[in-house]
């Protein structure tokens, strides 16, 4: 009924106490700003982890050798040479839905070309590897299944390695000596960035696994087998079939532990996501506490304000204000403080998330829902913490209030 004038009255009252209004809103500004910034950074971290996991490739099952030996000594993933080339071939042959398999050998090695040398990670893979990891070449061509069969001295290098060894020169067609064995660089990969563990994935030399085994690393066992299935819904079934197949091939009796470890991409993604989720939750909770503190600040100031303005309230009542008008006025004051504080806090939160993201080189992701929710919460904080002081004001007796010193 009298909403318009009441808004006018409330805004005039707020304007009268500019500094106090700003300081009161500051609690909410900081609270909302903290929520927005923290959740933004948390979401950014989550998105980055998800992107890194997606960069592994799609629908992957990762089989690592080792885990438990008969003596009970656990060697960790890839520790014991229990995976054979024949295992990989059996998977390729017998597991339905498998579209790509890459036998993997991992090593580190000194490499050199011309007068430059560099220590880098060495991967032996099958020709399927680049499709499986969804890792296209920036330049040149990948090695072929024929190269793998013949253990040819060819390799593909990552962007970091290329820069370290060849500088600005085009590496394609150049000779790269790996442990003094000359390899021809057939291609250079597109940059992929850091892995989840923070390893530079572009600092790598990838060659046929056969070449790695015969010419560089030695040995006859595989570190890992990477398997890609056609459809995400086949992953769980395929994973179980792989376990059964490998147990049978490795003659592991029932009740004994596997001598290999099978993980799928979703497991990895879920673990990583759970970690960031906990972190986002913690940050959000800390920020939410500051929002409540901001709300209590509003209540405190509104209570002081009601006491201090008792005579004003008396005067308003004397000139015809209903209790309801006073209640609405103080509620509007509280809600204006909290929601304007909320809006400024949202802006401050978005800006600080971006700034922190820029300085620390973290990603940040401000979701529209977090903005809407923070705004609604800040308005609700105003109503919740403003109601008690407002009701106190509305219930004052005009005679007492007019006489109040």
């Amino acid at each position: 009924m009298r909403a318009g004038p009441t808004f006018k009255i409330a805004f005039r009252a707020l304007r009268r106490n500019k500094l106090r209004s700003v300081l009161t809103a500051l609690g909410i500004i900081i609270g909302v700003g903290a929520v927005i910034a923290m959740v933004g950074i948390g979401n950014g971290a989550k998105a980055q982890v998800e992107a890194q996991i997606a960069s592994l490739g799609q629908n992957l099952i990762l089989i690592s050798s080792g885990s438990t030996t008969t003596s009970g000594i656990r060697t960790g993933w890839g520790g014991a040479g229990t995976l054979k080339i024949e295992d990989a071939e059996a998977i390729r042959r017998e597991i339905p839905g498998v579209i790509a398999v890459s036998e993997e050998v991992v090593s580190n090695s000194q490499i050199a070309a011309g007068n430059q040398n560099w220590f880098t990670r060495l991967l032996g893979e099958s020709a399927d590897y680049f499709d499986l990891r969804q890792w296209p070449l920036a330049d040149g061509i990948p090695f072929t299944p024929q190269d793998v069969r013949s253990a040819n001295k060819v390799c593909v290098i990552g962007r970091t390695t290329a820069t370290q060894i060849f500088g600005n020169e085009n590496p394609v067609g150049q000779i790269l000596r790996v442990k003094n064995v000359p390899f021809t660089v057939t291609g250079m990969l597109t940059p992929k960035g850091l892995s989840i563990q923070g390893v530079d994935q572009d600092d790598v030399v990838i060659m046929p696994y056969t070449s790695a085994m015969k010419r560089v690393v030695g040995g006859t066992t595989l570190r890992n087998i990477n398997v890609q299935v056609a459809d995400a819904k086949d992953i769980v079934v395929a994973q179980q079939q792989i376990i059964d197949l490998l147990r049978q091939r490795h003659n592991i009796r029932a009740g004994r532990d596997d001598d290999f470890t099978v993980r799928n991409q979703q497991d990895i993604a879920e673990t990583a996501a759970a970690t960031t989720k906990v972190m986002t939750g913690l940050l959000g909770a800390v920020a939410a506490v500051s929002l409540v503190v901001g709300g209590i600040g509003i209540m405190n100031i509104m209570l002081v304000s009601v006491t201090e303005r008792t005579r004003e309230i008396g005067t308003r009542m004397a000139v015809g204000a209903h209790g309801r008008d006073i209640l609405t006025q103080f509620l509007i004051e509280a809600v204006s403080l909290s929601s304007v504080g909320g809006i400024i806090g949202i802006v401050a939160g978005v800006v600080s998330a971006k700034v922190i993201a820029m300085i620390k080189e973290w990603p940040s992701l401000i979701s529209p829902s977090s903005i809407v929710i923070s705004f609604l919460v800040s308005a609700a904080v105003g109503i919740f913490f403003g109601f008690y002081p407002a009701r106190k004001a509305a219930q004052l007796d005009p005679i007492e209030a007019l006489r109040y010193e």
């Binding site: 009298r2 005039r12 009268r16 005579r311 008396g314 308003r316 004397a318 000139v319 015809g320 209903h322």
Partner: protein, 259 residues
């Protein structure tokens, strides 16, 4: 004195055996113990009495801030003794203008916005332009043109009280109720404010003024004296002081010692 009997129920303000009793614990305080009073349109009444005489309580009842415990109060032909809080607030808004001892202006708020205050709680919604127009007019009528945007702290006591009077007048009230309007003012400014009251009264505005100062009461045309919750005396002032003449006298007193 005889106007009370000729126009029973016909007066602007009609109190009929009004009582007010406060209870604080076991104690019962009978602040007003049966007051009957008639005030006609256009009167200028001073309500006097020592502290504890019940004049403030009677003032609160007249101002619809409080309800009588017993008796009837008829304001402008309607019985207001049984109204609830909100109804009383509406009566105060439309029919009564208050002037307080301490001015009761909103701090850090322009004279104009202070004067507009009762309009904001009125029944009629007015545009900003209409608010401004009405407030400007009433401020001008109390001699405050050009000070519309001053805050109370930038105004003298007399000017602040004029702003308060303007606020009291903005809704064209039936009665102007002044509670010790000169209590916080020096004697010269008091005379100035009495001048404003007399001008308003000449324009036909009914004024009821509570005061304990006899010389201030002598500007009114009727003095009602209360004692122990009852009307002790009620008489017309035969020769009310003229604020204009008094102001001139004060001026000459100020000038003479310098000679």
């Amino acid at each position: 004195m005889d106007n009370g009997s000729t126009s029973r129920n016909g007066g602007l303000v009609h109190l009929d055996d009004v009582h007010k009793t406060y209870r604080s614990g076991e104690m019962e305080v009978r602040a007003v113990r049966g007051v009957s009073l008639d005030i006609q349109q256009g009167e200028f009444v001073a309500l006097m009495g020592a502290s504890g005489s019940g004049k403030s309580t009677l003032m609160n009842i007249l101002g619809c801030l409080d309800r009588p415990s017993a008796g009837r109060y008829i304001l402008d032909r309607s019985d207001v003794s049984g109204l609830d809080r909100d109804e009383l607030a509406d009566i105060r808004n439309s029919k009564i203008g208050f002037v307080f001892q301490g001015f009761n202006l909103l701090p850090r708020t322009s004279a104009l916005e202070n004067v507009e205050l009762p309009l904001l709680y009125g029944k009629h919604r007015l545009s900003n332009a209409q608010l401004r127009e009405k407030a400007d007019a009433v401020l001008a009528s109390v001699g405050l043109q050009g000070r519309e945007d001053h805050h109370p702290s930038q105004l003298s006591g007399g000017q602040q009280q004029r702003v308060a009077i303007a606020r009291a007048l903005i809704n064209d009230p039936e009665v102007l109720l002044a509670d010790e309007p000169t209590g916080n003012l020096d004697s010269r400014t008091s005379v100035e404010i009495m001048g404003v009251f007399q001008q308003l009264n000449e324009r036909g505005i009914t004024i009821i003024m509570v005061t304990h100062e006899p010389d201030i009461a002598s500007y009114a045309r009727r003095n009602v004296v209360m004692r122990d919750g009852l009307v002790q005396s009620d008489r017309a002032v035969s020769q009310p002081l003229d604020a204009k003449l008094e102001a001139q006298k004060l001026m000459s007193v100020d000038e003479s010692p310098k000679m």
